[in-house]
Amino acid sequence: MKNYRKKLLCAGLSAVLLLSGCGMSSELASVSESSHDEPTLVTVWNYYNGQQLKAFDKLVSEFNDTVGNEKGILVESHSLGTVYDLEQSVLDTVNHKVGANELPNIFAAYVDTAYAVDKLGYVADLKPYLSQEEIDKFVNSYIEEGELSGDGSIKIFPVAKSTEIFMLNKTDWDKFAEATGADINDLKTIEGLTKTAQDYYEWTDSQTPKANDGKAFFGRDAMANYFLIGARQLGTEIFSVEDGKAKLNFDKDVIRKIWDNYYVPFVKGYFAASGKFRSDDIKTGNIIAFTGASSGATFLPDQVTVDDTERYPIEMEAMECPEFEGGEHYAVQQGAGMVVTKTEDEPEEQIEASVEFLKWFTQDERNIQFSLDSGYMPVTKEANNLETIEKDTSLNETDRTFSIVKAAIDTVNHNTLYTTKAFENGKNARSILEYSMSDKAAEDRKTVVENLQKGQTLEQASAEFAGDECFEKWYQETKEALEKLIK
């Protein structure tokens, strides 16, 4: 008995010594390695600015203080200024360019960039982290958009969507409408819009003694959308993607119609675009209406600055976009989603933590709040309801953003949302659509302006551009360029 007890005591003593020794050495080691109990760090890259950025950062803080604190997740948000900067940075990183940053855990991206990054293998499929119930919460086409490889995967998590709406400088329109009796309903069709633009140009021109100084009525932010949605409304898909393979359908008649309702009015001066966004053109009084992303709502101008000294306040009104006469009801679905990255040596917890944040972020209440603050639209079925929104938030008719939110939700609910799937060279193909016609229009407009200054009439000055030949040439060139990309 005594022996046993002594042995036990000895064993106990040596155990204590060993442990405390180990404990101390590991403590030293851990100190020199400098670790507190570290939460999982989730870095998010976005391209939000101003109001949107504030709204986003506010939600990030809220997450960190609540759920993040509980679950040991710390979200760090970085704004890279513009979606372009963001995409560039991401691509630089995944291509291991010198001086590139480390890949963030989450980044906002459009389909094309997500596709490019996914090709390199850095995109995590979120399907395994979400239950079917959770997935069904979202507007179907939003989830489908994130299915890059057509295999039911979810590689883009929808957080905020936008569509295009038509925004009108109501103040100036009223002056115009009063003077000329123009009908606002004309603006429901594209053809009607073109006509109204011409009327506006001629009316403004007539206001001044100077000839050919009419003002442009309308501008477009996204040319590629015009092509793709317009074609779709007219019954064709320019880029159809099946099983990751893209097919080109550059129907001449359809394209002609598109051409006639932008290029021609543009060179004639009925449409204009200077500066980066058409909302800028509104601000400078260059145009009084434009089609742009509903997410530009927070950037809407509330005054026109004519010059250093002259400015006047305006009211903007939002409406559903004009559609091609007799065409099907299609509207564009845009808005960058969030892509969760994965790298080889990244621990599971990183992805889990990222998904945790995204799920929290898109919970109805928060989603609605963010949407209102940022001008984006909520992504869940439940939240895409004006009444729900009015009920859950303080939004009401008097808010500036109200008409935009209404127009956006109406657009979502009255149309089929459409966006092209990602495909090889998709970005470049889209780019062609974006710039090819509009650049040419800007270029050719300069020539027309020169001609006008030489004293020509508008008819004369724009003759060479308004005809078939010009279209044919452009059509062929563009088609070939597209065909090169889409084999």
Partner: protein, 787 residues
């Protein structure tokens, strides 16, 4: 010398403890006393200094060689201005009146401005056109908007697009906007909105006024008047930025505006990774400006959360020095260490050189010295653990070692001297060796003792030894002790003193008084006989031997020997035999050794000799010598026993006649028969002796009076009358005697007297009647004596 003795475990434990204490003191002393901790702290401070220094160098380098490299652009712009002025497209007087007036200028400089924005990798670039003395205007409270361009790149690090899609315009005239193809920021205004803000931005005011204030003799160039501003915002809720701007000066000295670059604080924050100071979350960088005193820094930018944790959102940081270390004042009453490095942004003798920009690395003491304090704590804990382990271990070890030794000592104490010793082993070689040697010694001793015992037993010496050890209250006895004393055999080899004395006391009744020495005790002990009926099967004659055999213990023979040598004794059942045991004592300090000897043989022989000496062979009566001896003894020492006594002298009648007539055989028979009569017809305690031939003495004593004795004599006479011997001639001869009686104390008190008187009395009878008992007649004696 008296050596103090201490328990073994203490003798082990105390030195061990002392040793441990000494070792630990040495260790602790060398570590802590040697300033190891302070050295490590200083090292940490040095590391901090290095890092801040490196960061300062990097930052300064960026600031000087990249961000503020505006010279070439200044030159280009000045050139453009000169050209435009020359061509008359602009005029100095009207230049800053409106955007229209400087449109040509702004249009021309927009590209160089954007290029500068790109190549300097800054977050913004601006150009402000101004020809007014702003000081004067400010004094009057006049704040005018100024034309210019302010363009921003929110993320200069990412590669730029050729479509300028990453840029935003803050200020630019409407006309310019249309041409620049840069989007408008939400806060865009066509002019620098000083009127709204009711102040002129320092980025314009300072360098512009400094340039104005320079007189023509100055050697300074435009770049010498470059100004690094404190943080500002362009509009409410705008991000905070700092800028570097230089005045635009024409050849003729006209100052017409400023050119500048902007750096957002968030962009700068990325340049100051506070994590590099210490571990993550454990340090802050402070970028600030010392304006007047060198202990006060105006905060420009703080990166890292540590600072706000101790100083909240203070705008100013104070530095103080303590024990050669720099610390910052804080609300938390902690020691917050810092390292201050100066950024040399201004040359000497430039207008803004009083503004000294500093980069300070700030680390809280508990973070800065985390490693050294952990080492310290670890050392302390280790020391304590060692100490405790040492003490506990020491105790355990010393107990472990000393326990077997203690057990050994205890067990030894319990050991009896003459038993077989077995020591428990202690595991200590020397002690175990000693133990085994002692065991060996003990075995030898035991063997020696046993040998002696064995020899004694083997020699059949009938010897036993005992030793009384009063000190230990034990009496050692040899095996045959009990047997010899006729006691029941006990198988102990030692008794307590009391037990022993009890045993001896029980033998007191057998004690003999002998004329032996003082240290001798003699016991006459009866031998217990047990009768055993044994049928001997194989006698020589083949007959059943049905005699009764007596086993005599004295012979210490085993039962099996009965059949061989048993003693056939008389049929008399009640024979008693004795043995004589002599105990001789020898005293020696506290011991008393006793020898127990069976001297039965010697004693019996002695008895026989004495008997023969004292008794008459023929009659078995006492002889004259013995009688005399006894009588003398009695009269000398035991007179009280006598009381009334009588000495009778008897002379047998006609003995001579018998001897002569019938022979000596019948004469002997005559004497013998008479003797038998005397014995038979007198009481027990009567002393009878044969003096000689036919003379006898009978001494009656212890009676109350003479009559009792007379009665005895009468009985005797009666008895004698009855007896006769049978003669060969078939006649019966009666026993006739003449006897004289002398009375004690009446006749005499001395034996001699009585002898003489009884003899006289007998003689009287002999010479008169014969065959009579006559009493002494003193008168006759006297008469006869004096005849």
């Amino acid at each position: 010398m008296k050596t103090k003795n201490r328990p073994l475990y203490l003798k082990l434990l105390v030195p061990m403890l002392v040793l441990i204490l000494v070792e630990i003191s040495l260790l602790a002393g060398s570590v802590f006393g040697g300033g190891l901790i302070r050295y490590m702290e200083n090292n940490e401070i040095e590391v901090l200094h290095e890092r801040v220094l490196n960061r300062q160098r990097y930052l300064q380098n960026e600031m000087l060689t990249r961000w503020s490299k505006v010279d070439s652009t200044v030159i280009k712009i000045n050139q453009i201005t000169e050209d435009l002025l020359q061509s008359g497209r602009i005029s100095i007087d009207t230049l800053d009146d409106s955007s229209k007036d400087c449109f040509a200028f702004l249009d021309a400089v927009s590209d160089p401005l954007l290029n500068m924005l790109r190549s300097n990798k800054v977050t913004g670039a601006f150009i402000v056109v101004n020809t007014d003395n702003l000081e004067e205007l400010s004094e009057k409270g006049i704040y005018k908007n100024k034309p210019g361009i302010y363009v921003r790149d929110y993320d200069p690090k990412s590669s730029y697009s050729d479509r300028n899609t990453d840029l935003l315009l803050e200020y630019a005239p409407t006309e310019i906007v249309k041409n620049m193809n840069v989007s408008l920021d939400s806060g865009w205004k066509p002019q620098f909105a000083f009127e709204d803000m009711q102040q002129y931005g320092a980025y314009l005011y300072e360098p512009y006024q400094a340039a104005l204030g320079m007189d023509e003799r100055t050697e300074l160039e435009a770049s010498d008047m470059g100004y690094w501003s404190e943080p500002y915002q362009l509009f409410a809720n705008d991000q905070e930025v700092i800028s570097y701007s230089v005045p635009l000066i024409l050849e003729d000295g006209t100052v017409y505006g400023v050119l500048g670059v902007e750096l957002s604080l968030s962009y700068l924050e990325d340049m100051l990774p506070s994590e590099e100071l210490k571990d993550k979350d454990a340090g802050s960088y402070l970028l600030g400006i010392e304006k007047e005193s060198d202990t006060e820094i105006t905060n420009v930018l703080i990166s890292g959360a540590d600072y706000s944790m101790v100083n909240g959102d203070k705008k100013v940081t104070e530095i103080y020095t303590e024990k050669n270390r720099q610390l910052i004042q804080n609300d938390m009453d902690e020691d917050i260490y810092c390292d201050v490095e100066y950024l040399t942004l201004y040359n000497t003798n430039t207008p803004f050189e009083q503004q000294r920009w500093v980069l300070t690395g700030i680390v809280r003491e508990k973070n800065l010295f985390r490693f050294s304090s952990t080492v310290e704590k670890t050392l302390i804990r280790g020391t304590l653990a060692t100490l405790i382990a040492g003490i506990v271990g020491g105790i355990l070890i010393s107990l472990y070692i000393s326990r077997p030794v203690t057990a050994l000592t205890k067990s030894v104490r319990k050991m009896k001297p003459f038993s077989r010793i077995e020591f428990s082993r202690t595991g200590i070689r020397e002690i175990d060796l000693m133990a085994s040697e002692l065991e060996h010694l003990n075995r030898e001793t035991l063997y020696a003792a046993e040998r002696f015992s064995y020899i004694v037993n083997a020699a059949n010496l009938h010897l036993a030894v005992f030793e009384i050890n009063s000190e230990e209250d034990s009496v050692f006895i040899t095996g045959s002790f009990f047997d010899m004393l006729g006691l029941e055999q006990q198988s102990v080899t030692s008794l307590t003193e009391k037990e022993f004395r009890d045993i001896l006391d029980s033998l007191d009744k057998y004690k003999q008084h002998s004329a032996g020495r003082e240290d001798e005790i003699l016991y006459k002990i009866p031998v217990k006989n047990t009768t055993v009926e044994v049928s001997k099967a194989d006698t020589e004659s083949g007959e059943q031997d049905t005699n009764t055999y007596i086993k005599v213990d004295d012979f210490s023979k085993t039962g099996s020997d009965i059949s061989q040598e048993s003693l056939k004794v008389t049929e008399d059942d009640n024979t008693e035999t004795w043995k004589y045991i002599r105990i001789t004592l020898k005293y020696n300090d506290v011991r008393c050794i006793g020898l127990v000897e069976d001297i039965t043989d010697t004693a019996i022989e002695k008895e026989n000799i004495e008997y023969e000496r004292d008794h008459d062979l023929l009659t078995g009566l006492l002889n004259r010598r013995a009688f005399n001896r006894i009588m003398t003894e009695m009269f000398d020492h035991e007179k009280t026993v006598l009381k009334t006594a009588a000495l009778v002298m008897i002379d047998l009648d006609e003995l001579k006649h018998v001897n002569d007539t019938y022979g000596h055989d019948y004469g002997d028979k005559y004497i013998r028969t008479a003797a038998e009569c005397f014995g038979k017809y007198t009481p027990e305690s009567t002393m009878i002796c044969r003096r000689s031939g036919d003379e006898f003495n009978i001494f009656f004593y212890g009676y109350q009076n003479k009559d009792e004795i007379r009665e005895c004599i009468r009985n005797l006479k009666e008895g004698i009358r009855k007896v006769s011997i049978h003669l060969p001639d078939h006649t019966e001869l009666p026993i006739r005697m003449s006897a004289g009686i002398a009375w004690y104390p009446d006749d005499g008190r001395i034996y001699q007297e009585l002898k003489t008187y009884s003899d006289f009395a007998m003689y009287q009878i002999k010479h008169t009647s014969k065959n009579q008992f006559g009493e002494f007649d003193k008168d006759a004696y006297l008469k006869d004596k004096y005849k």
